[in-house]
């Protein structure tokens, strides 16, 4: 299970985002954006796009330490997530919802962080191997 998550979580989140965005886009061009389900889909699409934008902007910041990176990145993401999710009525504004979604968000954040670190470690190994072959 751990291995499965490590290898697939990032592609699963990407596929989920792509499906949501595609369906929202199709709903939009078909003029089919009213109705509870479509509004929810639109809301999710807006959430995904904004959080992607935030991630992209943050990726250009050179943080002094890993701790600083996580504090700023996680805070910005989680605050952004709740602000957008509440204003678009994606989740109910209750303590239960905040705690549950917050915990899920934090777990996903650190799992994805670990996956990315593993990927970079593997890339470093491959680069070093190639460099030693070329010498």
């Amino acid at each position: 299970m751990k291995k499965f998550i490590n290898y697939n979580l990032d592609s699963m989140t990407f596929v989920f985002s792509a499906i949501v965005l595609l369906n929202a886009f199709l709903g939009l061009i078909n003029g089919n954006h009213s109705g509870l389900q479509n509004e929810y889909l639109m809301g999710l699409a807006i959430l995904i796009i904004i959080l992607w934008g935030v991630s992209y902007v943050l990726s250009f910041v050179d943080f002094q330490s890993e701790l600083q990176l996580h504090i700023i990145q996680l805070s910005v993401h989680i605050i952004g997530f709740f602000l957008i999710a509440f204003s678009l009525n994606l989740i109910p504004m209750t303590l239960d919802s905040i705690v549950t979604n917050g915990i899920i968000f934090i777990i996903l954040y650190f799992t994805l962080d670990r996956i990315r670190k593993n990927k970079i470690n593997r890339l470093a190994e491959v680069i070093n191997k190639k460099l030693s072959e070329n010498r």
């Binding site: 943080f63 990176l69 970079i120 890339l123 470093a124 680069i127 190639k130 460099l131 070329n134």
Partner: protein
């Protein structure tokens, strides 16, 4: 890699023909050597202007709108902007590794992963440079990964 040398008194000019399976870094170096792609970049050190062979430059860095050329033991200042030098270097062994740095891949010894999803490059003279995550694809392309 094998080298076959054939003497032929009937030809006027030496022909170098390379049969390869993959166009890799070593082959690029051979092509550079034959075509003499290396050229000089003007650099200033202690008020004197020098012409530095690109082969001897470890990396080029831009700091506060000034451009510096780092060789093994001397740092030269260049009047050119980083992007101008990058364009002039064209298909040589130099690749952009961050917004402000261009690295000569011939001097890259190894890399290690560091915080913030970045890589730290160790050069042959043991200097260390940061490879920004947005520029990792350049390394991958260069090394055919």
């Amino acid at each position: 890699m094998r080298i076959l040398l054939n003497k032929n008194n009937d030809i006027e000019e030496t022909i170098i023909e390379v049969t390869y399976r993959t166009y890799d870094r070593k082959l690029q170096e051979i092509v550079n050597l034959v075509e003499d792609n290396s050229h000089d970049i003007k650099g200033i050190h202690k008020g004197e202007t020098h012409f530095i062979k690109t082969d001897s430059i470890y990396y080029i860095e831009s700091i506060d709108n000034l451009t510096f050329l780092y060789t093994e033991d001397i740092v030269f200042e260049s009047k050119e902007k980083l992007y101008v030098i990058e364009e002039a270097l064209g298909k040589m062994n130099f690749i952009r590794i961050s917004k402000s740095t261009i690295l000569n891949m011939n001097y890259l010894k190894s890399v290690t992963s560091i915080s913030n999803y970045r890589l730290e490059a160790t050069l042959l003279n043991n200097e260390k440079l940061i490879i920004n995550r947005h520029y990792m694809k350049n390394i991958k392309v260069y090394l055919n990964l």
